[in-house]
């Protein structure tokens, strides 16, 4: 460990009381493998206000933190900069260290030289090192201007909302309720139970799915702490961690709770339709209960099928059939308002619909079924009373073929592995063998993934029972017109030979995919998605069940395809995470809010118009605005909008950001891209690019703001005035904005700037605007690449011109 201590050289532009310590982290070889850390430390030491600069193997390690604390005490450091990974990962760690050493945590700043540097410039060591220096220079510049802040505490309502009543939702609800918290479990369907209720047996233990689920379901129904809201949908979520206001629409069942589920009504109902629960293989009536063990057991009327429209009762068969007089066609939907402290998203997944894979002939050939249809067929409580009947002639097939990865791991479906299909097929194959040992079973696969506890044994058993596993999916399936048997052809990639097999039934082992309406849920809760479309966790390793938004957690297949065991595990984890918050009863929220400077305010009310949280209002008497900091979420768009610098954005002040810009453009400005990235999407996207080692040019300097709405035109102008070749402003997609709609202001401002640049005769191309979400690292990388041509094309005259024109601004 080299150490460079430099005698503090006073200079005019330095901040008197700023005594900054800089620590450059090697992160093993993650950084040091590319960036010359000692050199960076040396460079840092020479920066204004820096009283000491060190490099260290692992700053996040205990020694690292101890070192930091020690120095703060010994050298009376008043500011600390750590150059290592993303603040989104370790800022909390170092902030805590500072606090422990008696330094206000807002006097800490981070330079992201891993995700934004070493990992994305693996092969350009010098440039990466230079960039690292710049990043540190920027951090130090900002650090010098940091102010201590006081965080205020918010109470946490000790109630939780669980969205989705599948096995994950059920587990979360029970765990939280047992812990003693009030839980609202919102389920869109008439009954809880979800996918698991549809399954026959579970792998690898082969126990009956509903048998183990039903008791949990009824526990939910009975639990004094759980308010079960089935046939209900979340319509609006407002508020913030610990204090969510949730609007739930409880749709009418048209059957009152007095229903004893005697079932007299259903046979009386003249309208029938395929039962969704049985994958359409069994019939239900317009008045029905989805399945025997449904919770609540109360029947429900499907008004879309029922003959009775509007308020005219045309058919009263069910009314007549119901002895307890529980049918009420006048039931109205209820709009409920819930106050909860935490929200757990357990909305589950959809099953891939293979119809589009025409070569497999699903919906064309009756005897080609999906694995979910199979579950209902083999289930004793199912439409065929457990007899595996092929749909065409209701005969028990003598031979069946399973086709794996249907809709998974393929350009023609979903790119990812759906995780459960292999084991599910093995389980199904064994079930068939158990009932009809003579059946010939072929499994066409790409890889068999039997990674879990007890999985391999099950796989072995299947092989022992001589289930034929053939590597290589069929290229086509077609039907024999006479027998309605099916032909499969493809290549056995192990034997390198073409197969042509004839079986009596084919089971397509379909994958899982995000809910069709996951978009809606995402908007509702301002969640992020990973490229596969499932909801993104706050950190893939360290915060796997937290959503990026405080107070919201993920459980089950909503986060990614997983089997029952994993869903339950994750559910309990989510419950634990939520409990921690609620047990504390309060949480401190970042002091990053805006503050009004009344003397500067002219009462123009520009800020009032742009504040997404109505935190600012105009006071007639004073002819000035009033800013309620408690209501402020800290996007900073007001500050960006204010023409009179009357609103100061804490921890992201104009001066601090100007300082970062100046630092970023101190050397070779004309080769550089200054990028403003919002904390939640674009900056996270850049992190994601780093984690995924997506390479892109080194000439970009990213400045983090909480929201792209914080980016004031003057920042962009300053960058150009400082001679930057190009500027990128990047934020969340519309609708994803963590501050409701602040990014619409970004759009407006950039458009204004483009107009201005045109007026001034500047090439507006040099200013780029891009919407990049947390999972779009690829998009960010390619954006930077694409901008290279812009950088290349700006000549010095142009840069000088813009300097001249924009300096005054």
């Amino acid at each position: 460990m080299t150490q460079v201590v430099q005698e503090q050289k006073k200079s005019s532009e330095t901040n008197e009381d700023a005594r900054i310590g800089v620590y450059v982290c090697h992160c093993g070889l993650n950084i040091a493998g590319t960036v010359n850390c000692p050199e960076v430390a040396e460079f840092a030491a020479a920066l204004p206000n820096v009283v000491l600069a060190k490099d260290h193997r692992y700053m996040c390690s205990d020694q690292g933190q101890e070192l930091l604390k020690h120095d703060i005490r010994e050298n009376k450091l008043t500011r600390v900069v750590v150059a290592s990974c993303s603040p989104r990962l370790h800022e909390p760690t170092f902030r805590q260290a500072c606090e422990e050493a008696g330094l206000n945590k807002y006097l800490f700043e981070m330079a992201n030289i891993r995700e934004h540097c070493s990992w994305v410039h693996l092969y350009e060591k010098e440039e990466a090192t230079e960039k690292a220096k710049d990043l540190v220079r920027m951090a130090v510049a900002k650090a010098a201007l940091l102010q201590p802040e006081r965080e205020n505490e918010v109470q946490i309502i000790r109630k939780a909302l669980v969205i989705g009543g599948g096995v994950a939702g059920i587990q979360v609800a029970l765990d939280l309720a047992d812990t003693g918290y009030k839980v609202y479990l919102v389920e869109r369907e008439p009954s809880i139970g979800g996918r698991m209720a549809q399954l026959d047996k579970t792998f690898p233990t082969m126990d009956c799915s509903i048998c183990i689920l039903a008791p949990k379901m009824s526990d939910v129904g009975r639990h004094p702490n759980i308010e079960l809201l089935t046939n209900s949908e979340v319509q609006e979520v407002k508020g913030y961690i610990g204090n969510f206001k949730v609007k739930v629409l409880k749709k009418p069942r048209y059957v009152t709770d007095d229903c004893s589920a005697c079932g007299d009504c259903a046979p009386a109902c003249p309208i029938t339709a395929p039962n969704e629960f049985d994958s359409g293989l069994a019939t239900r009536h317009a008045i029905y209960t989805p399945f025997a063990q449904a919770v609540p057991s109360t029947y429900i009327i499907d008004r879309s099928l029922c003959l009775n429209k509007e308020n005219i009762i045309v058919c009263d068969k069910c009314i007549k059939a119901c002895e307890r007089k529980t049918i009420d066609f006048d039931m109205k939907a209820e709009a409920l308002e819930l106050d909860v402290g935490t929200i757990i998203v357990a909305t589950g997944a959809d099953v891939y619909d293979p119809t589009s894979l025409v070569n497999y002939g699903y919906t064309k050939f009756p005897n080609v079924i999906t694995s979910l249809e199979f579950e209902r067929l083999i289930n004793a409580g199912g439409p065929s009373a457990g007899h595996l009947l092929r749909p065409f002639d209701l005969r028990i097939p003598k031979s069946v073929a399973f086709v794996q990865c249907v809709g998974s791991r393929s350009e023609r479906g979903r790119l990812y592995c759906s995780n459960v299909c292999c084991m599910n097929t093995i389980k199904d194959a064994l079930l068939i063998k158990e009932h009809w040992p003579e059946t010939e079973i072929y499994v066409y696969y790409v890889d068999i993934r039997a990674y879990g506890k007890g999985f391999e044994d099950l796989y072995k058993r299947a092989r022992k029972e001589d289930v034929h596993f053939i590597r290589g999916l069929p290229s086509e399936i077609w039907e024999d017109r006479k027998t309605h048997h099916l032909w499969l052809t493809g290549e056995n990639t192990l034997l390198k030979e073409v197969y042509k097999t004839n079986v009596e039934m084919v089971i397509l082992s379909v994958g899982l995919e995000p809910r069709v309406d996951s978009e809606a849920v995402q908007r509702l809760l301002t969640l992020s998605k990973t490229p596969d479309g499932f909801f993104m966790e706050a950190h893939p390793k360290l915060r796997p069940v937290d959503a990026p938004t405080g107070g919201i957690f993920l459980a089950g297949c909503a986060e990614s395809p997983k089997d029952i065991k994993d869903s339950v595990t994750q559910a309990s984890a989510a419950a634990a995470r939520a409990s921690i918050l609620m047990a504390k009863g309060k949480v401190t929220v970042e002091a990053i809010t805006s503050e009004l400077i009344p003397d500067a305010c002219t009462g123009c009310q520009m800020c009032v118009k742009v504040c997404p949280f109505n935190a600012i209002s105009f006071i007639k008497e004073s002819k000035k605005v009033d800013l309620v900091e408690a209501a402020c979420s800290g996007c900073g768009t007001c500050s960006a909008e204010c023409p009179f610098n009357a609103i100061n954005m804490r921890h992201f002040t104009d001066d601090q950001i100007f300082a970062q810009i100046d630092a970023a453009t101190e050397v070779d400005a004309d080769k550089k891209i200054v990028a403003f990235c919002c904390n939640w999407c674009a900056y996270a996207g850049a992190d994601f690019a780093g984690v995924s080692r997506m390479q892109y040019p080194t000439n970009v300097r990213i400045i983090r703001t909480m929201c792209s709405g914080r980016v004031a035109p003057k920042f962009v102008e300053r960058a150009f005035a400082r001679g930057a070749a190009s500027v990128l402003v990047a934020g969340c997609h519309f609708g994803d904005c963590h501050y409701i709609n602040a990014n619409y202001q970004t759009q407006k401002r950039i458009e204004r700037l483009w107009k201005k640049m045109e007026k001034l005769g500047l090439n507006k191309e040099r200013l780029q605007l891009s919407w990049i979400n947390a999972s779009e690292g690829e998009k960010l990388a390619s954006k930077i690449k694409e901008m290279q041509s812009i950088v290349a094309n700006v000549n010095l005259e142009e840069i000088e011109a813009s300097k001249r024109m924009l300096e005054k601004a």
Binding site: E310, N311, I312, I313, D316, D330
Partner: protein
């Protein structure tokens, strides 16, 4: 589809009286139909039920029900029914009559029978007009409506019948349109099983007269109006149960328990006998 088959409600209809005299699409036929269905479903002893009606189109209904029945003078069915019910409490006495009969000429009898809580069921076919006399305005004719007596539009305010009935102390008050046949039947059943004075208003279409005068020339147009305008609001304050061109509030507004006049009379009589 062979026509010879006997209509299931034939047994509730007086032999030789059907087809009735009412016009095509008239709501009265539907009310008769619902009444028959209610008797069928409750399986009432037809020998123990008396249907009393007044004057007007619907007044003929007592002639069509296969029960003891009486077609009284204009406005007097409730007073007559009071006599019947008191003289023989075993009998179920149902008054079915029109808005003019029950609330104009007969208004006095209605309010007092309701006040006394006489144990009878009153079903009012409200067609907003005097149909049989050719379309004069009545106590329920909406403001501005055209009738032969209001050639410049009606300037009288209409009664809100359910509000009136509730205010007078009826123990059961409901309003349906002639399109809400199932609910009407249910209400009739409820009323028949209830002790005390119950009132059911049936907003009923008179296409021939009211409809033609007021831009609803066909029975279908009138009943479509019911479909579009009707709004079910159970237990709403009957004062708010309005009937306007675009809103007909229907539902059950009152359903309370209160000793009937008959019960109190019997109690008083026993006391008197002991003396």
């Amino acid at each position: 589809m062979e026509g010879e088959m006997v209509h299931p409600y034939e047994r509730f209809l007086r032999r030789g009286m059907i087809p009735h005299i009412w016009c095509e699409g008239c709501g009265n036929g539907i009310i008769l139909n619902c009444f028959a269905q209610a008797l069928d479903e409750l399986n009432v002893d037809l020998d123990k039920i008396v249907v009393v009606s007044g004057i007007g189109c619907i007044g003929r209904i007592s002639g069509y029900t296969n029960t003891d029945s009486f077609h009284t003078t204009h406005g007097r069915p409730i007073a007559f029914a009071t006599g019947v019910k008191l003289a023989n409490p075993e009998l179920k006495v149902v008054v079915i009559s029109g808005d003019g009969d029950l609330f104009a000429i007969g208004g006095n009898h209605f309010i007092h029978a309701a006040r006394r809580n006489i144990d009878i069921q009153v079903i009012c076919a409200n067609n907003f007009i005097y149909g049989m006399t050719g379309g004069q305005y009545g106590p329920t004719t909406p403001l501005d409506a055209w009738t032969t007596m209001t050639p410049y539009g009606n300037i009288e305010n209409a009664f809100n019948l359910v509000h009136l009935a509730a205010a007078c102390g009826a123990v059961y008050v409901a309003r349906w349109t002639a399109l809400h046949v199932r609910r009407l039947t249910e209400s009739i059943k409820k009323a028949l099983q209830k002790e005390g004075f119950s009132f059911i208003e049936v907003v009923s279409q008179c296409p021939e007269i009211f409809g033609r005068y007021n831009k609803m020339e066909t029975s279908l147009k009138m009943i479509q109006w019911f479909k579009q305008a009707s709004l079910v609001q159970h237990s709403l304050d009957p004062a708010k149960a309005e009937i306007t061109p675009d809103k007909i509030v229907v539902g059950e507004f009152v359903d309370i328990e209160k000793p009937s006049y008959g019960r109190l009379l019997r109690e008083m009589t026993t006391k008197a006998k002991e003396k």
